[in-house]
Amino acid sequence: MDFKVKIWRQKNAKAQGHFETYDVTDIESDASFLEMLDILNEKLIREGGDPVAFDHDCREGICGACSLYVDGRAHGPDDHVTTCQLFMRHFKNGATITVEPWRSAAFPVIKDLVVDRTAFDKILQAGGFISVRTGSAQDANNILIPHETAEKSMDAAACIGCGACVATCKNGSAMLFVGARVSSLALLPQGRPEAERRAKAMVAKMDELGFGNCTNTRACEMECPKGISVDHIARLNREFLKAEFRG
């Protein structure tokens, strides 16, 4: 298969970015989108050019490193996949494909398609944990958790922290990311004691770091590669309101 790829090039955080278009040819239809970029980079290096920088690591959809905005959609035109699990058979032969980095005030560009997502780490540092010391836990089976509750918590815990929700949201809100973490812990008995405080602290940090507000467009849910539901935002709001109410 052959494609024209229109890619955002930006030398560094301060430089002005622009699009450049490249031809890529002889791509196997079973190749992944990132393998296609590998092939382009190999060609650029051989020609003495500067290869395209993009974050990637596990290439099996779990590390959350890859973060490309492909043809106007976070992770491209397939549902519930990360960019590394997007395959070239989803594109028409000869198509022009546009590739951009996540665009959000909270995620500044480092180079080309690579952005800085440390804001997510900072939100989690504000309270995305259960305060338990190593070695102080009781026997695991002393905490009974109904099957359905564990499954629901796991649905939320499946978040890979890629940032597609933020990149997709017209307000650049991180509510799905925060909601997933808060909800996953709030559903479990171990997470209850700190649930309200956690919600309040994480939301405050999110606001401080320049993420926008949620206006319930549900675009985040549509583009989340792990299919995380906006129900978790509702649970976050409940915990947040309880915390506010108690002051």
Partner: protein
């Protein structure tokens, strides 16, 4: 035992060794812990859990990772589960049995005392993880669920769907975040360790490159912990993440840490087969699938030809024409034999011509019986996400046709040599998790990597490192202006300059693929004296080619992924050679290391306990000099050494 290889295994009965050692280890009082600094390199299960626990204890910790966030370390990709001797299933499991299975699974090439300790602390890991809010699978009554993994006859594996590694890492990362917020741990993402700094024979710091700015930075401490995983990417194609590398461990080797059993690499039997030459990464399908999936190839060659021409589908081949070769050869364990055994059996069938895809390098993993027996709903609950992942990649549904799988490089049992305290041969330098060599011998059992990473990080290292640090609290902070730092930074700078100066034509990946081909062909599933000698020569030639032809574009002082890759490949070229050298030395078959010269008439691996019951620990001698081999004899006092038998 040799003077340099003092394993520090406590005396006394096996079950009391860890308790005994803990009672001997010196303590550091809380007010002195504040004065001590520890560097942890790597943020996978081992690194994150160690840093979080050390921080909690009050030490000053600096933690480094090459990704943009600690949460992206490759532990995240572990799918199937984590073992623990809880005996929640009442199937007569115990600490002893987990210990025994692990020693046997490792083909009697690991230390009894280390493995027993691993089994002993396994239960506390599950308690810890549940307390952290990890949503392990639960039964309807609310109790924890378990499943089985290869090489065992009990159900002791805890899991969170097919994302157990992710959930455990998010737990350790959360504990780490709590300490970062508390100010005890400082996190340095997008930083790559490029050298170890040794002062007066003791590990005192590292040189790291800030991957966003390209600047070299110096970090000092009272001790350094390496938790950077394995070196499986020496084979280029593997299930490891693209950025996984052996460089931090390799710098330690060059600064005096011995490297243990480098040839022990695990080849995982259930990976999605290679689809073409443009591929850079292989995807694992969890071992848990072998709980219910049945592995087979056709009995008749005519069916194989028809399959390859797409004239028939696998599901059309009648039951009597299928060869369930694992069930046939190993009736007692069937499809759940250990990974090395399952991989070799797949290779044997494919070498005999029965491989089922166009390349002839694939076998079937079939769920049709499981779907009939358990129903769609239960299979969906157990494996749904794995089926989905397989279909996304291959465009074929495991609900309709069996999966196609083939072995691929997955894990390295070898690594930095450590004593019972997890300290390397360099005082003050520790290695934990996959980065060390200690617990898995010649073959690791499934769901034991997560167990080891967390055992080392939460429960072993934070205890043992105090013994060393108890002598250090009176020492001032390490001065990063010391000449040793200066020298190390200069050496790193020279290496970077040398890479840019080549100005060749070849992209790093092109040379890396060549290394991978050499490694897979000669240092892969079947190794021979002749082949290994060829490998060593070929790798040396490729190393020379690399330094003459590589092209590293751009500059040092920018985000430059090609420079990162070039630095790592420079090390892989040397690691690959040491792996071949170690494989050549070990003229026996054991675990994942199969020497064609050493096999039974049925083609099973034949160990040579008389000559090779030792840990091979290699000592660096300098550029272009042959390393020196040291031997740590393995003594089995509590277990009877036997030929591994999975047949009855």
């Amino acid at each position: 035992m040799e003077e340099k290889l003092i394993s520090k295994i406590p005396d006394g009965p096996l079950a009391e060794k860890w308790t005994k050692r803990k009672s001997e280890i010196r303590l550091v009082s809380p007010n002195n812990r504040r004065k001590l600094e520890v560097i942890v390199v790597g943020t996978g299960l081992g690194g994150s859990s160690a840093a979080a626990t050390l921080g909690e204890l009050g030490y000053n910790v600096k933690i480094f990772c090459i990704s943009d966030s600690p949460r992206r370390a490759h532990s995240i990709a572990a799918q199937g589960g984590i073992n623990a001797a809880k005996n929640y299933q009442n199937d007569n499991d115990s600490v002893y049995r987990l210990f025994y299975d692990t020693i046997k699974g490792g083909d009697y090439r690991s230390r009894e005392a280390n493995v027993y300790r691993l089994a002993e602390v396994s239960t506390a890991i599950i308690d810890q993880c549940v307390a952290q809010g990890i949503p392990f699978a639960r039964e309807y009554g609310g109790y924890l669920a378990n499943r089985s993994f290869g090489g065992v006859q009990v159900s002791r594996t805890f899991y969170a769907r097919g994302q157990t590694g992710q959930q455990l890492l998010l737990g350790a990362y959360a504990a780490l975040n709590r300490q970062i917020a508390a100010g005890t741990v400082k996190s340095y993402p997008r930083h790559e360790m490029l050298d170890l700094v040794v002062i007066n024979g003791q590990a005192k710091g590292i040189i790291a490159r800030n991957l966003a700015t390209g600047k070299l930075e110096r970090f000092g401490a009272h001790a350094v912990v390496i938790a950077t995983g394995g070196y499986g990417r020496a084979y280029y194609l593997s299930t490891n993440a693209m950025n996984s590398n052996g460089s931090a461990a390799w710098q330690c080797y060059k600064k005096g840490a011995f490297f243990g059993n480098p040839c022990f690499a695990q080849i995982h039997p259930t990976c999605i087969p290679v689809h073409g030459t443009q591929q850079c990464k292989l995807t694992l399908m969890s071992e848990s699938l072998r709980n219910d999936g049945r592995i087979w190839v056709p009995k008749k060659m005519e069916d194989v030809y028809k399959l390859r021409k797409h004239e028939i589908k696998a599901s059309q081949i009648p039951e009597e024409d299928r060869d369930y070769y694992l069930e046939r050869r190993y009736p007692a364990f069937g499809n759940l034999v250990p990974r090395d055994v399952a991989s070799r059996a797949a290779k044997e069938r494919c070498d005999a011509g029965f491989g089922v895809n166009e390349s002839g390098l694939a076998v079937y993993l079939d769920f049709s019986d499981a779907i009939k027996r358990l129903g769609h709903q239960r299979v969906q609950e157990r494996y749904g996400n794995l089926f989905e992942m397989y279909e996304k990649i291959t465009d074929s549904s495991p609900w309709k046709e069996p999966m196609m799988i083939y072995p691929a490089i997955h894990y390295t049992m070898g690594g930095i040599w450590v004593d019972y305290d997890l300290q390397t041969t360099v005082p003050g330098l520790y290695a934990i998790g996959e980065a060390n060599f200690s617990d898995h011998g010649g073959n690791r059992l499934g769901a034991s990597a997560l167990m080891q990473g967390l055992a080392d990080g939460y429960f072993v290292l934070p205890v043992t490192i105090a013994d060393y640090l108890s002598h250090k609290f009176a020492e001032p902070k390490t001065d990063t202006n010391a000449p040793e730092f200066e020298e190390a930074e200069k050496a790193v700078q020279a290496k970077i300059d040398k890479l840019f100066a080549v100005k060749g034509t070849e992209p790093v990946d092109v040379i890396h693929k060549k290394l991978g081909n050499i490694m897979w062909e000669y240092v892969g599933m079947a190794r021979s004296e002749e082949g290994l000698k060829v490998a060593i020569e070929k790798i040396k030639a490729l190393k020379a080619e690399f330094w003459q032809t590589v092209r590293v574009p751009g500059t040092q002082y920018e985000f430059n992924q090609e420079l990162e890759k070039a630095l790592r490949l420079a090390d892989f070229l040397e690691i690959g050679e040491l792996m071949a050298r170690d494989a050549l030395n070990r003229n026996e078959s054991c675990g994942g290391h199969f020497r064609v010269e050493s096999q039974t008439p049925e083609g099973e691996a034949k160990r040579d306990d008389e000559n090779y019951m030792y840990v091979a620990a290699w000592e660096y001698q300098g550029e272009d000099k042959d390393p020196v081999l040291h031997k740590e004899p393995l003594k089995y006092e509590f277990i009877k050494v036997a030929t591994r038998n999975y047949k009855d």
